[in-house]
Symmetry: C2
Subunit: 234 residues, 2 copies
DNA sequence: ACCCGTTGTGTGACTAGGTCACTGATTGGC
DNA sequence: GCCAATCAGTGACCTAGTCACACAACGGGT
């Protein structure tokens, strides 16, 4: 059993099992060799099934997660049952709020939910602390991740406070309908944008009337992307 | 000369000039002696006049600020000219978004404005990095500050998305009228809450009609705090 | 194949909040 | 004492959110 196997894996089976997942993170590729080693030996690749609540009010995790595959939806919950999606963490990103939960003992009104099955590298709290203290590259990675999330939050605030619903909905549809068809109920879109179901129903009816979309039960099909885009960019 | 003197300072001249400002920060009091020294010798106490823009779009500072005196208002600006106040940094707190700006090269849609004359300890970027890497206490301080701000942002989002204007306005009035009189124009309150001036005017008219407040040009006087509070807590 | 509970959507009436286009009042210089 | 700037009040109108429904589609059972 030679040590090199870990460094240069051949053929590539399930990527997540390899130690080279580190390079899939923008900002970690130039990590110091010693640090890279700590990271790969002292973190653990875990799998989480879809719809698991990863963190939430009263449930702070004790690992920092680096997402290797899948997406995590982070959303704000209100007492009256309404929600807004704050942002999504996708493969190659880290879930910094987890870190904040871990390190800062404050409770959050937000929760993170696995939107798909997930593969992630879990970094225990102590290791995280070690890495932050010993690697400038890792520090930059962490702070940049924070910065990105905070920027996302700013966008959410700006959207909710100042932008019209029709514009926001059009954007959302374009953004989340990669194949031209979006699978989501009106209720889900409402939760996404932090509004009420009826509002979505009415807006979609209007979009349909204009020939921009076609609707099915639980689906929205884009017919005229330019029409939507023109609205979204106004 | 007994050691206790340091714990219970007498008379107190201009506080900011002393090196013991560190103890005014919750979370820095148990800093390792060596670190404490680095912090006091390599940071610089600065003064900034009221209404200075400390950071903003296209203006990222190269120091991390620990506020010794005064308050900084951090607000989001929209193209159409409307604003929302995100949070305030008060004496004894740090302005972490500054850190994020410093370290992460993303531009923010938010700006920080000195709301009063300000005294702050400025920590140069390089020193900040050094401190984060060498002191666990300082790391905790930084991450806790992040966590607090993120929590604040969550509150703002929840407020804007899900709470009624009258309730939010009542809260704001109570919160910012320490002496029973609040100096602010309707336009300022509107910017505070991210709404339009007319909305504030109408709500205040209603509060006045109910006998909760009296209005003057640029002032709101609380007459019946319980009335306001009952609304604010509903 | 039919029944039935569950889930998703449509609608009208109403309230709250935001926009627009004004008016008039107050204030601080000059 | 006049004038420009600032601050506040108002009505008409539009968008968004709430409430109370009706109804349609779907997915198991039996």
């Amino acid at each position: 059993m030679h040590e090199d196997a870990a460094e240069e894996p051949p053929a590539m089976p399930a990527i997540a099992e390899q130690h080279d997942w580190i390079d899939r993170f923008e900002g970690l590729s130039r990590l110091e060799p010693r640090i890279r080693d700590v990271l790969s030996t002292r973190s653990q690749v875990i799998r989480v099934p879809a719809n698991t609540v990863i963190f939430g009010p009263g449930k702070s995790p004790d690992n920092m997660l680096l997402l290797l595959d899948g997406t995590v939806r982070v959303q704000q919950l209100a007492e009256n049952g309404r929600e807004v999606v704050l942002y999504r963490v996708t493969a190659g990103e880290s879930c910094v709020l987890t870190t904040a939960c871990m390190l800062a003992y404050e409770d959050y009104a937000a929760e993170g939910v696995a939107e798909t099955d997930i593969v992630a590298a879990a970094i225990p709290r102590a290791v995280f602390d070690d890495l932050v203290s010993s690697s400038k590259e890792f520090r930059n990675f962490v702070f940049r991740a924070y910065s990105r999330r905070i920027t996302d939050l700013f966008h959410v605030i700006e959207d909710i406070a100042f932008r019209r619903m029709d514009i926001r909905l059009a954007q959302k549809i374009i953004e989340r309908a990669d194949t031209g068809v979006l699978r989501a109920t009106h209720a889900q879109l409402a939760a996404e944008l932090g509004t009420a179901r009826e509002v979505i129903s009415r807006q979609l009816a209007e979009f349909q009337r204009r020939g921009w979309i076609a609707q099915g039960r639980g689906t929205v099909e884009i017919l005229d992307c330019d029409g939507l885009r023109k609205l979204a960019e106004s």
